[in-house]
Every structure is written in C-alpha cells, then in structure tokens.
Amino acid sequence: MDETVAEYIRRTVLKIPRDEIKMMLQKWGFLSESQLQTLNFHQIKDNISQEVVQLCEENSADIKQAAALDIIYNHIYQNKRMWSVYQMKKSGEELECFDIKDFKKRFKGRLRSALKNVTITFKEYEDNAIWIRVAWGTPYKKPNQYKPSYVVYHSQTPYVFISASVLKSNLPLLCQALIVASNYHDIREMELRSHSLNSLKDIVFKRYSQNFQTYNSKPLQGGNVEPENADIRIVHENRSEKERIHRLNQEVFGDGPQPKLEFAQYKLETMFKSHPKMDVLDKKEPFRCLVKFSSPHLLESLKSLAPAGMADTPISPLLTCIPHKARNYFKIREKKGTFPESFVSP
C-alpha cells in the first residue's frame, strides 16, 4: 500500500471521535466484519488508527478507498464546512432523463481533459444527493488529498452546493465540469453561504414553512403568547400589544422552525438622513457601511427581537427576506424616486 495513502487513512481516522470510529468503518465497508472484530476501540485513537492502517494494508487499500472514507466522514460532519450555493441554468426546454452513469462519465472526462492529476470520487445517498469529492493536483504534482473540494448535487434540481477547498483557482474548472456533466449551459454563484448544508437545502428547495401572505382573520388567543409571562402587572393594553407583536412576527417569519443560518451580511451604500433638528452630516454621497449579523441560529434570534422589545414590529424586510430570496449577502442602495424609505437590493 502506498505510504501516502496509509498516512491519509491514518489521519482521517484520527479526525473521527472515538465512539464513532466503528460505525464509520462499518459504513465504509472496506474492512470485513471479522477484521473489525479484531480492533480494540477502547484504546487511544493513535493506536486505533495504526491498527486500522494495518488492516487496510492487508486489503491493499488504494486512494480510491481512502477517498471514500473521507466522503463518509464529511457527509456526517458536513456542518464543519462552509457551503456556497450555485444555481445552474438550462438553455433548452427538453426534459432529459437523468442518467447517473452519463453524469459521472462526463464529469470525469471534462475534469481530466483539463487536469491530469485529479482524484474524483462519487457517492450517492438516499435523498437523491450525489456527493462528489475532488482532490486537485497540478500537471507536475499529485493531487493534494488534504484540501479536496466537495460538491453536493441533487439531480432533480438546478442547485449545486460546493464546499471549495482553499484552492479557489480550481473553481471555474469545477463549475464547467458540472454544467457539462448535467447538461446545463450556465452556472452562477448565489449570495448564500452557511455551515448548515441542510438549511441551505431547506431554503432553496423551499422546505421550510413559509409565510403565504394570507390574511389571518382569526386573531391568536392569549394562549399562544409565552405562558411564563403570567405577570399580573401586564394589563390588558400591554397584553394585546404583545399579542399583536407576536401575531405579526408569526406572519412574517412563519410558524415552523427557521432554516439554520449563521450570518447575514449587508453592504450599505445608502444616504445618511439626519433628523431635521440635528445639524449634522448632509452629504450627497452614500454613507458606506458594512453590517454583519451573527448567531448560532440567526433567523431564530431575529425572530425573537421584536417580542424582546429590541426591534419594531414589523421588523425590516431586509431581514425577513433572507429565506425566500435565498441569500444572506446583500448590497443595499437607495431606491430613486418616490419612496425614499425603501431600498433596492441588486
């Protein structure tokens, strides 16, 4: 077995938390059940990984199998990576039947015709997701297995999720190979990024509960307001105000759980408007700002701002549009014309 393959397998196993190693090796299926029985999973990880490497040696593992183990690890720990979303466009209207064999063949062909040294691995999952791992080399160097790119493609959709490695120069080639393989004619990066791959899918596949803008004629009864506010000092006016805020919040954010995003970024190029009483800045040029919101669960925290009294109700559409505009990077300019208070996001 190649030394570099052995080292790569050893390091991959070391990444796995000790109590998950057995499960992952089983999923991998490269070592037999009887071989797995010989492993002592109660020793330190260093020793476990050495033993795994020895077993792989017995089975003559090559880079293909090592890459397969890496895909399994990254599929389970997908949230450790940052994912960007790309959308592909079809020129024609024909509905072609998706053939996975053709896809793989065309993808590999396109990449290999441009770059000789590249490791390409595919794995299909039950939810129609095709995972692709690409390790990149140069005409003179073998592929760097430690900085691969990952692509997740759901063949029934025009969306591709890419976790590029640091080698961003390979991105155009990767994109090209994708459209050639899937029979699209163009691909563009969306302004949507997150660690939570599932949340990105929720957003572009519209799998979250949305606000359908229907008039909710039945006012929410007091029962929907958080029960712990059974403070007798909250008199009727306050209670109905609380309910109003709660209802509007629900309308704007929807009832169900929000997709999990970690940040949203706004580049503001709008004018500074001073209070007429304040004799301050009155420039003709934009007041340039960059605003970034971060949270372990951004949309949930934004949803709780108005009920907590920190934001007006309804909160700004710049924030609530994130899921249905499927973006978390925005550039905001002043809208010219009759509505100076509204903004345009290109």
Partner: protein
C-alpha cells in the same frame, strides 16, 4: 469622562521627546488592563533588587507547584526598567516595565532568552490621583499585560505583597466605549485607515445575536466633524449625538434599536477596545491620548 482636551486627538500632537522606537513594542499587541492602587515604599533606584526578588518569588511558586503554565524545563528571568518617555507630564511617574523571559536549561547563553510575558505600569496625566496621595506612595494607576494569565497572577501577587497595592481588572463600559469610538473616528490619519467598527451583543434572546456595524473611516470622520462643534474639547453631548446618528441610520434600515443592545467592542485605525478591558493601540501618534483615556478610567475605578 470629563471634558477631554480635543487637542490630544487633533492632528498631529507630536510629543517631542517620545522616541517612536522605544514605544514601538506597545503597538499592535492586545493588552489586558488593570487598575492599580498606589504602591507603598516603591524606590525607583532599587529596580535590580526588585527583579531579583520577583525572580526568586516565581521560582519558589514553581517549586510549590502553584505556577501551572511554567514548564519544568524553563527558568524565568525577570527584568524591570523605567520608561521615562511614557508619561503625560512631569507630574506623572515614569512608566515601569516588567519583562519575563524564559531560558531553556538546555542552552545557557543569554541570547537564547525568549520573552514570554510583558507588563507595564503607567500614568498619563494622572494628577487627579497623585496630588491627593502621601509622599511614600507611587502612583501608576494603569497596568497593562500581554502574555499568559498565570504569569500575570504571579507578578500581580508579588507586587501586592511587596507594595501593599491592589489590582482589579479594568472593565470598559458601553458609555466609555462610545467616547472612544467617537474620538478615534475623528482622528486625522495620513494613510489609509481601517473601518470604524462597533460590535454589539443583543441580550435576552432565545439565541445569542452579535451585530458588527462597520463604517467607512472617511464617512465616520465626516459625520464626527459635523457633530463636534466646540473647538478644543469634546463633550458628552457631542458623543451622544454621534452615537444617535449611527443608531438612527441603522434603525432606518433594519428597524432594530441598537441603543437597547450592549456595545462590547469598538475598533478604529487608532486603537480598538473591548468591554472586558482589552485594548490594542495601532497608531503611535495617538498613543499619549489613548493612554490618557485609560489612565482616567483606571483612576475612576480606584476612587
């Protein structure tokens, strides 16, 4: 703060006897801030003795097993020095520098010393404190450290028991942070500056939320220049107007009341400051001004 002489933040207050080389080590390091009560019985002439005593103290603590971070292989060498350039006026004490370096027992050459911890006491325009204190006391109310917390603790404990003084972490309130960002945003800088950034934390939410609000330095300065009306000084009212403008601009877009959030960090090309009492000074020109602010904060925490 009381009225801060704006002169310290207008261009360029060249302090003639400050050799930028001597103070270069202060820049671009994250300093943890403490307030220190006056030192009793401190003698400027005994720095070598103090260094020896502190060194012995550290070695003894290591033996007791109390200094966790210090490796068994390393000897800690202590150096104490004065930095006369670091003070506001003749009424201030010269700054006192404490340097800990490690020397591996394997190599005995002194050129192998590796600096592991740095701390310095200073007073910049701290007359408010020193003029009310008896002769036997030395006032150096601001203490800045860079390096492992375990060393800070060792050094602090030795100073405490030797000079009967008291150290306290210096917290920086949101109000003080807004003073800092307003003043520093208004500083004139000869080269391209970094953004003026304010970082807020929203309390009491189901999920924590941080907001970073970064303004182009030219635009922030333009705003401050129209707000600051009294020549030669900066007032609380001006700082409030500046902040209100920023809050209003933010609210116009997002409908969020930043005034209800907690300002935790401010960052400009001059310096950055965190509410936990951590400061980074980036520009030598404004070093005296920043230190003066911090000295005043330290004094008000002591009093």
């Amino acid at each position: 703060f009381n009225l801060i002489p704006a002169i310290l933040f207008s261009p360029p207050p060249r302090q003639e006897n400050v050799d930028p080389q001597k103070t270069a080590f202060l820049l671009r390091k994250a300093w943890t801030l403490y307030s220190v009560t006056p030192l009793y019985g401190f003698r400027r002439g005994r720095l070598r003795d103090y260094a020896r005593l502190l060194s012995a103290f550290i070695a003894a603590e290591k033996q007791k097993g109390l200094a966790v971070e210090v490796g068994v292989e390393l000897d800690i060498k202590v150096a104490l020095s004065s930095l006369a350039e670091l003070r506001g006026s003749e009424l201030d004490q010269a700054a006192l520098l404490v340097q800990l370096s490690s020397r591996s027992r394997a190599s005995s050459r002194s050129s192998e010393d590796k600096p592991v911890w740095l701390g310095w006491f200073c007073s910049v325009f701290g007359e408010d404190l020193s003029e009310n204190v008896p002769e036997a006391f030395t006032c150096l109310p601001l203490f800045l450290t860079h390096g492992a917390e375990s060393y800070t603790s060792l050094v602090g404990r030795w100073f405490q028991k030797t000079f009967d003084c008291c150290f306290r972490r210096l917290a920086i309130s949101p109000m003080n942070l807004s003073w800092m960002v307003a003043m520093w945003a208004g500083c004139k800088l000869d080269r391209a500056a970094s953004a003026v950034e304010l970082v807020f934390s929203m309390p009491r939410l189901s999920q924590p939320l941080d907001i970073s609000y970064a303004i182009h330095p030219e635009d922030a300065k333009a705003l401050w220049d129209t707000v600051q009306k009294t020549p030669g000084e900066i007032t609380q009212e001006e700082v409030d107007v500046f902040m209100d403008c920023l809050y209003a601009h933010f609210h116009r877009h997002f409908k969020i009341h930043l005034s209800a959030a907690k300002l935790v960090k401010v960052s400009t090309a001059v310096a950055s400051a965190h509410c936990d009492g951590i400061v980074k000074i980036l520009h030598s020109q404004y070093l005296p001004g920043v230190l003066m602010l911090l000295t005043e904060l330290a004094i008000s925490q002591i009093q």
